[in-house]
């Protein structure tokens, strides 16, 4: 990942916003308000480690905008976490909630740490410490956290438990991503990946392609990628290549099979962080290629489902001429430079904050269910998710067609306009 250290995701998010603000001809006050978060929290979390020493972790929470409802966003545990990453992700959450038209604003949080090197007890202490610092500034009516990079349902339960202990009552709607049976929603695990493919299915229809006649290459093999591949295969598609991070080698690899990958087989040789065992993969007939090889495959569809800043001005030229669609499962996987390349080549981009909004939509469903303490069947969750994602996609593609906009710009126009209107209606601007 050489050369990526100078990349500032917040600057990129602001650049994207500025472009849309121009399209919408927003007034200066609204621009100023929406270019920056409403609130930011940065704090220390002292934790007594297993070896008896105290270590202090840095935590963040950014609430970008809550004009449309309580802020919502994940909590990331990542060693390279920065406040600018969190700011950018919080802003994207605002747009994401708005584009799928759920009554929530955008937020994001994080802790600079690497859970791979922490014991469960130490991780629990970080979670509880994070909530103690923010207990008055988050909650079901204020700001609702969720799992994100390297956090999971267990982390959410620790946080919920701490929050409820502090407030002396049960608030299952405080946090989402909880396990089923403990306030979680059925369908949440599948939601982001499935949501991605619901929009992909509509994009294929728009291009006159049948899923069974297409093939795809996917970056990442975590939860989003796995469920996206699952539903894409169920619709008849074939995945030729996936890539993933190798924890031991501290690099990524691509795994290719020209006859199509077998999802069940790959899952059986994958660790809980989405790392595929390359030795076992070779035994099963997969070619093991360098990490970036997923991007250059001869396929119809690319699904970047790993981290931000993966398709860049440097590597976008390597995208095969057969590629018709880029469906962004990850947040911010494509840089503005790469975007220009995609646009010039007429590649249909399903922008990240639309394509991967299935997760937050289902989180919203979870929060609704938790607040009611009444839980739906999975059919109901997935049915609602599909309808929500499909209508969001259709609104975006319709605007893109009518105004001759790039898909990403059309999605931004819809989202930013909704948020700006809410701020205006509240009398803020």
């Amino acid at each position: 990942m050489a050369g990526k250290s100078a990349f500032n995701p917040f600057e990129m998010a602001q650049a994207q916003f500025d472009k849309v603000a121009n399209l919408l001809d927003l007034d200066a006050g609204t621009r100023e308000l929406l270019r920056f978060p409403l609130r930011e929290y940065a704090f220390s979390i002292p934790v007594r480690m297993d070896d008896g020493k105290v270590k202090v972790f840095r935590g963040f929470r950014v609430q970008h905008n809550d004009a449309r409802g309580p802020t919502k966003g994940g909590i990331r545990f990542h060693p390279q976490e920065t406040i600018d990453t969190v700011r950018a992700l919080a802003m994207w959450m605002t747009w994401k909630c708005a584009v799928v038209d759920i009554p929530l604003g955008g937020g994001k949080g994080g802790v600079i740490c690497d859970p791979h090197n922490l014991s469960p007890r130490e991780q629990e202490a970080i979670c509880r410490g994070w909530v103690r610092q923010l207990a008055k500034d988050v909650g079901p009516l204020v700001d609702v956290p969720a799992p994100d990079v390297m956090t999971n349902a267990q982390h959410m339960l620790w946080m919920l438990d701490e929050f409820e202990a502090i407030h002396g009552a049960k608030y299952p709607g405080f946090i989402t991503g909880k396990p089923v049976g403990m306030g979680g929603s059925l369908g949440r695990t599948e939601a982001t990946g499935y949501g991605l493919v619901f929009t992909l299915r509509e994009a294929l229809k728009e291009l006159g392609l049948r899923p069974e006649q297409t093939c795809a290459s996917v970056q990442g093999f975590g939860n989003v990628a796995q469920y996206a591949i699952e539903l894409y295969h169920q619709l008849g598609g074939k995945t030729l290549c996936v890539s993933c991070w190798d924890q031991a080698d501290q690099t990524s690899y691509s795994f290719r099979k020209s006859s199509g990958i077998d999802l069940r087989e790959l899952r059986s040789i994958t660790d809980r962080f989405g790392g595929i065992d390359k030795g076992k993969a070779r035994e099963r007939g997969y070619e093991v290629l360098p990490g970036e090889a997923w991007l250059t495959q001869e396929v119809d569809i690319l699904m970047p489902c790993a981290l931000e800043n993966q398709v860049t001005g440097d590597n976008a030229g390597g995208i095969h001429k057969r590629v018709r669609i880029v469906a962004e499962g990850a947040n911010g996987p494509t840089t503005p430079e790469a975007d220009r390349v995609l646009q010039q080549r007429g590649i249909f981009v399903i922008p990240d904050f639309l394509a991967n909004a299935g997760g937050v939509t289902c989180s919203y469903f979870e929060q609704v269910q938790s607040n009611m303490n009444y839980f739906w069947e999975k059919d109901e969750v997935l049915g609602k998710l599909d309808v929500k994602m499909t209508s969001a996609f259709l609104a975006v593609s319709d605007l893109a067609r009518r105004k001759k906009l790039f898909q990403r710009d059309a999605a931004y126009v819809i989202a930013v306009n909704r948020v700006a209107q809410a701020c205006k209606d509240r009398g803020w601007v």
């Binding site: 599948e190 499935y194 619901f198 299915r201 229809k205 069974e212 539903l231 169920q234 619709l235 008849g236 739906w376 069947e377 999975k378 059919d379 109901e380 997935l382 049915g383 609602k384 998710l385 599909d386 309808v387 994602m389 499909t390």
Partner: protein, 591 residues
């Protein structure tokens, strides 16, 4: 399976477009959800639309708009996905009771790729829907699976979209589950089909009808057949026959009382001795989709949202008042309409006798077109609405077309044959046509133990005999009293088809108090004919030709016996002969 050809599953015509999540205002009123086959019933509807209605002129036909009601069919790949992903196959093909299977299907999850389409439907529709089976085997000429699988009518009028969605998904899962209900598995096995190969598409279809208070139903439902197995008077078999009923078609397909007439002689009264007899045989109840307060929740019951009501409950309906005649006791005659007080007869007189709506002419035209397209005798199911208050605009929805099995085998039974001393059964009235020499088992109801109030118990007693004989691969002759398969226990034994599906020949002995005609529109009747079961009707003494040698049967040792039923095995195979052309039949033993 060497030597056996397996048809490719019908995928449906290429014009069937994908469902675009708009039902009534979509690009096409006939759409498909998913890939794979659309099943026999949907194929039939496609045929109606493309090859029958396209040739029907004028359209509207003299004031009647003829349509295939708007529908979306969930193709079989969704069914496969549902079974596979929920691991239901083993249970489905097991001998677990139907309600266990239905419950397991209810608990299972819809394929993710289907949930959104159903949700979209639930969001936009607030009118009743028929959720209908359309299996690969259903309605194929060689295996008529009529009425074996479930159809569920849902009111779909709940205020809340979530509730409508849940009721819709429950209905779809119920129809899928019915693929593997006991009756369906037994029927598949009885006709030599492996149930594991069966796949179920599901049709979501607009119900042709109108809402009146808590009721939603068509004004007329009917079954028209181009071949009549029971012609009476001047009618010939090829003239066909039509059954009409008020309300949903369930009255007819369940074998209830409906108005039966020959399309060649629509004005001819049915063969009853007197008007009073006729009045006793008129339709008295009808089926409706219940639109009122929710009934007890029971997603595994086919009639969860249906109600059977007395016809008098609809006395104020304009349409009903238009369709009935009223008996004028003073003049001992029928007066069309409901203008005077008196007993009502649902004889559709203003349509059939006075031609105020040219329904009969339309049905004759449709039957002819359908016969030409199918290349065989056909059966059409339809439903219709009309509005007597406003110039009688009418709308007729065609719901199904099915080929009919008419045997051409040359069998001759003469008058002299009926007098043979070695005849176990002779009959002067038969159904079907053909000969069999492979039946050596006889299951019969003991005449001395039979009574009309025991018929439901008898139906249950028959099932184990049927199962054992099916498993042993032994075809059998079934002899009993009254109308087999009647939905009304006092008219005969109310067996489900699955309870006697191994019988290859059936004898219906009438009793003085039990001598109704079989309803030709019923699913039971259809399966009987379609499975080429020979049917012999032996009238009670003094009312016609035919007899049963009860003494000989009673003299054979019993293989099995219950209170009302006896199973015997003959020393050598019986010879069964049914001469459909001359209407005679006999069962002979070795001399």
């Amino acid at each position: 399976m060497e030597g056996q050809t397996r048809r490719n599953p019908p995928e449906g015509p290429s014009w069937v477009v994908p469902f675009d999540r708009r039902f009534f205002d979509g690009a096409d009123p006939f759409t498909r959800i998913g890939g794979g086959a659309i099943g026999g019933k949907a194929q039939g509807l496609a045929l109606i639309r493309e090859r029958i209605l396209s040739r029907l002129s004028p359209q509207p036909f003299d004031g009647i708009e003829v349509v295939v009601p708007t529908l979306a069919v969930i193709a079989t790949d969704r069914f496969d996905a549902f079974l596979e992903r929920n691991g239901l196959r083993e249970l489905a093909l097991s001998d677990e009771p139907d309600d266990r299977k239905a419950q397991a299907f209810q608990r299972a999850e819809l394929p993710a790729e289907l949930a959104g389409d159903l949700r979209a439907l639930a969001l936009q529709l607030r009118t009743p829907l028929a959720v209908r089976s359309s299996s690969l085997l259903e309605d194929a000429l060689e295996h008529p699976f009529a009425g074996v699988y479930a159809t569920k009518m849902i009111p779909n009028n709940q205020h809340d979209a979530d509730t409508r969605f849940r009721r819709l998904t429950e209905a779809v899962k119920f129809v899928w589950a019915s693929t593997f209900f006991r009756e369906a598995l037994a029927y598949a096995r009885s006709v030599g089909v492996d149930p594991a190969g069966e796949k179920m598409a599901v049709i979501l279809q607009e119900i042709v009808g109108r809402r009146r208070g808590e009721r939603f139903h068509p004004d007329i439902a009917g079954v028209a057949r181009s071949y009549n197995y029971y012609p009476t008077g001047h009618a010939k078999p090829e003239h066909g026959v039509v059954n009409l009923a008020y309300g949903l078609g369930k009255t007819i397909v369940d074998g209830g009382t409906a108005w039966t007439y020959s399309p060649a002689f629509p004005k001819a009264p049915p063969p009853y001795n007197s008007l009073r007899d006729l009045l006793r045989q008129t339709q008295t109840t009808f089926w409706t989709v219940h639109m009122g307060a929710p009934p007890a929740w029971d997603p595994t019951r086919e009639t969860e949202y249906m109600r059977q009501l007395p016809v008098t409950a609809a006395e104020d309906d304009e349409a009903l008042r238009f369709l009935v005649s009223t008996y004028d006791a003073g003049a001992d005659r029928l007066v069309p309409g409901a203008g005077i007080d008196g007993p009502r007869l649902l004889d559709f007189a203003r349509l059939l006798k006075f031609d105020e709506v040219p329904l009969n002419a339309l049905l004759r035209r449709l039957l002819r077109l359908a016969e030409e397209e199918v290349g065989a005798a056909v059966e059409l199911e339809f439903a219709m609405t009309l509005d007597p208050r406003d110039g009688l605009p009418a709308r007729l929805g065609l719901l199904q077309v099915r080929p009919m099995a008419v045997s051409e085998e040359e069998v001759e039974v003469t008058e002299e044959d009926l007098l043979r001393p070695n005849a176990v059964v002779t009959a002067g009235f038969v159904l079907g046509n053909g000969a069999r020499d492979d039946v050596a088992d006889v299951v019969y109801l003991k005449p001395q133990r039979f009574s009309a109030d025991a018929t439901p118990a008898i139906a249950a007693e028959l099932e184990p005999f049927n199962r054992a004989l099916l498993e042993a691969g032994r075809p059998y002759l079934l002899i009993g009293f009254g109308r087999w398969g009647s939905s009304e226990p006092w008219l005969g034994v109310p067996v489900q088809w699955s309870q006697i599906s191994g019988a290859r020949a059936i004898v219906e002995a009438t009793l003085p108090q039990m001598s109704p005609d079989l309803s030709q529109g019923s699913h039971f009747f259809h399966n009987l004919i379609g499975s080429r079961v020979l049917y012999l009707c032996v009238p009670h003494e003094g009312s016609g030709r035919g007899r049963i040698d009860w003494d000989w049967l009673d003299g054979l040792p019993a293989v099995g016996e219950t209170e009302h039923v006896r199973h015997v095995r003959t020393p050598t195979a019986l010879r069964l002969r049914v001469d459909g052309r001359r209407g005679r039949g006999m069962v002979l033993r070795d001399e």
